[in-house]
Symmetry: C2
Subunit: 455 residues, 2 copies
């Protein structure tokens, strides 16, 4: 009698897990059944802004592996099925078929929770109006595309200036709309420090986006059954479509109700093999807590690359192998049109929250030798421990492949390097690719000068 | 009575040294006198192919800091002055003024040897013909530019397929010439492994460059006082201009004659503070040996970024401060048109020479999410120690900012990472910047699979 693995969620984490488990255990040994409330498996949520902006042509392009492919490999997948309850004592889940709202129980021996994240929705008057969209799933993407083609909206208001917010601002701009972004904080991109976020805001304004900072939505207005405007603390903004980008949180409602323990971050607590504290239950992806290697705390960071890696680790464990997930350093890259934004590690506020004393160096440089055509501006900020010079975090804003330069810093951070050693690192140099002193090296040197002065 | 520092060579290493020393010791304390046989200070030799190809407009654009600027800061610079002898006993150098060939002695208390590298010139019949150019100094660049405008050559033959060779092939192509590259080895780019070099060769052929591998020049032919052809082992190639790119070697003739000890690499032996074994004598830049952190051997790697860093270290030491140069990992980036090439660490032959047993993983991937427009091919090769999985070297060939991805690998190598840990590194992910599994991570994972299998 084979064991039965139930996988809740058929996206990156769930299907990476299922694939690995299947690769290591055949169907006589392990039955794998997955439920997902959406219509798609293994899709790239990060690609949605580019689909909506018209950069990516087809919705199906964002599906890395369609449901048929999983089924062919011996993974049973039920789409439009929502798991509404996990019963750990009876080892079963309750599943609702969203087509007919029927419910049934499905037993499991092993359980993988890959329920992802859910977008935060504002509890504001009018927030349920037609024309207000989250950006989370391909079903969301389809709804937005349908609205764009059916109604040809002219004015878009983006609520929230995080990654989704700035990427959707670009998308709406590409669609020819007037775009306004409303951000509660002093600057968009709260994953950066405020003065870096302000640089992003200025660049967005230069692109023609109205960026309203320190402003908050208080109400959504409708007319004729469709959104007509957004009322903020300081203005009434006409709007034909609203995109919500105010963040998301781990989707742990069902897991929490079942008694699967959460970490301090609010995501499901897991060990290095992605095992929850409940025997035979794993969690991975946006719903699972990640160990942050710099703060040494549990964090909830929704990101496809983590979900893929974690799901794979869980699947190897379920499959009888050994693999561990070593944690994250908080690397993220994004862009608005040609402005690229990247960060890794801790920002200043996060350093303070972790008890670090730090110094900062911010350097304006170029992406190529100064005399080389196309040399673009790049601003590099490093945050380092005041006494030791150990790198704690980095932020980059620039153009022309500035963002991926964060990787060298992410690897340095991963290894706990001090800027004292970093500024002599042997990074690639040639005039089309970097100045003779790479921006990363200059920033490290400047940061070290701060450390020496204040030690 | 101030001390007197003589700096031989007024390019990157020499002037970085002089600047640092001057910053820390004023003219009452230290007189700084520099001699250089060329006409320029602090220039970017790496930029010469782009000047000749017309990408960079003016020769002066390649001068990072002109002689007047150094003089204003209290550094005495004598251009067109060649140091022909170092007398360590009498603490003086013999200097020849190249304008009038007069010689004089100049005393020193402290000596900085920053004589750079000299291009290898083939000892072949006809090798002194007009129309055959090295690419080393701005004076070389001016001679080439003069020849291009005076003679409008149609056919260029590049001898040697190293960095200079491939970059000059691009430059000559940009000038509208028919370009043939002659390379003795089985593939160009001998800093890569042969099968990676073959990929470069194919890409160069696709650009319209005739790449002749396993062929060697045996003679240069002239007519009417100018180069007319190149005779190789297998063909007679008509040519109006020849570019020599067969490498360079440390320019140590004068230092060696004076008894300043060289390392096994043939470059001047230095300690971490760039001090030679002779008291009061420093060396830095292309003429100085570098410690290779992977092979743990002394190497001669001519590269502007090393020269700048080393010169600075020497200058700080001379200035009474403390700074060390921690060595190199052999990182280099280059391009031919839009094909980018990068490497770090040891190639296979170098691993063998250092006694490493290794395994290899080569991965074909994309620079962006596969569905994202502009996703370009990128080939990533990792060489890792067979038993431990420790990274030993990496090579990347690709397009669209593929090359600088070597930096993450260079930092990993710097820290002695094993691919076991590397494939979970938190590198920047978003669809415009990388697939969900970054090529570097995939390559690391594949390499680790080799290690497990063969351990």
């Amino acid at each position: 009698m084979p064991e039965r693995l139930v996988v809740i969620g058929a996206d990156a984490a769930g299907m990476s897990c299922a694939s690995q488990a299947r690769r290591r255990r055949d169907q006589d040994d392990l039955v794998i059944v997955s439920f997902d409330r959406g219509n798609y498996t293994s899709f790239s949520a990060c690609g949605i802004p580019y689909l909506i902006g018209g950069v990516v042509d087809e919705l199906d392009d964002l599906v890395a592996r369609p449901v048929e492919e999983h089924r062919r490999r011996g993974i049973e997948v039920h789409l439009r099925h929502e798991v509404t309850e996990i019963d750990l004592d009876r080892r079963r889940v309750v599943v609702r078929d969203l087509e007919d709202n029927s419910e049934r129980a499905e037993g499991f021996d092993l359980l993988m929770v890959a329920t992802g994240a859910v977008p935060v929705r504002p509890h504001l008057p009018g927030a349920d109006a037609a024309g207000i969209f989250g950006v989370q799933t391909l079903d969301d993407a389809r709804r937005i595309l349908d609205a764009l083609s059916a109604r040809s909206p002219r004015r878009a208001v983006i609520v929230g200036g995080g990654y989704i917010g700035i990427e959707m601002a670009e998308a709406m701009l590409a669609r020819g709309m007037e775009v306004t972004l409303v951000e509660q904080a002093a600057a968009p991109m709260s994953t950066l420090d405020p003065e870096m976020g302000a640089v992003v805001a200025d660049a967005m304004r230069a692109l023609g986006i109205e960026v309203r900072t320190e402003d908050a939505v208080v109400e959504f207005e409708s007319a004729d059954g469709w959104l007509s405007g957004v009322v903020t603390e300081s203005a009434r903004l006409p709007a034909d479509v609203v995109i919500l980008g105010i963040g998301d949180c781990p989707n742990v409602t069902v897991a929490e109700a079942a008694g699967i323990p959460l970490g301090d971050s609010g995501a499901i607590a897991v060990d290095r093999r992605m095992r929850t504290t409940i025997d035979g239950v794993w969690a991975a992806g946006d719903c699972a807590e990640k160990f942050h290697r710099v703060s040494r705390r549990g964090v909830a960071i929704p990101l496809g690359t983590h979900a893929n890696k974690e799901g794979r680790v869980a699947g190897i464990d379920i499959g009888g192998g050994y693999e561990t997930f070593p944690g994250v350093v908080g690397t993220a890259v994004s862009k608005v049109c040609d402005l690229e934004v990247a960060r890794t590690g801790l920002k200043e506020a996060e350093c303070r929250a972790s008890g670090f004393e730090y110094v900062v160096a911010t350097v304006d440089s170029k992406t190529r030798a100064g005399y080389f055509p196309g040399a673009a501006d790049i601003k590099t900020k490093l945050i380092v421990e005041r006494r030791t010079g150990r790198l704690l975090g980095a932020q980059i804003i620039g153009r022309e492949n500035a963002a991926k330069r964060i990787d060298a810093l992410a690897v340095a951070l991963w290894n706990g390097m001090s800027v004292d050693e970093m500024y002599h690192m042997d990074l690639g140099y040639a005039p089309p690719f970097a100045p003779v002193w790479d921006p990363v090296l200059i920033a490290a040197r400047r940061a070290w000068e701060q450390v020496e002065r204040r030690a």
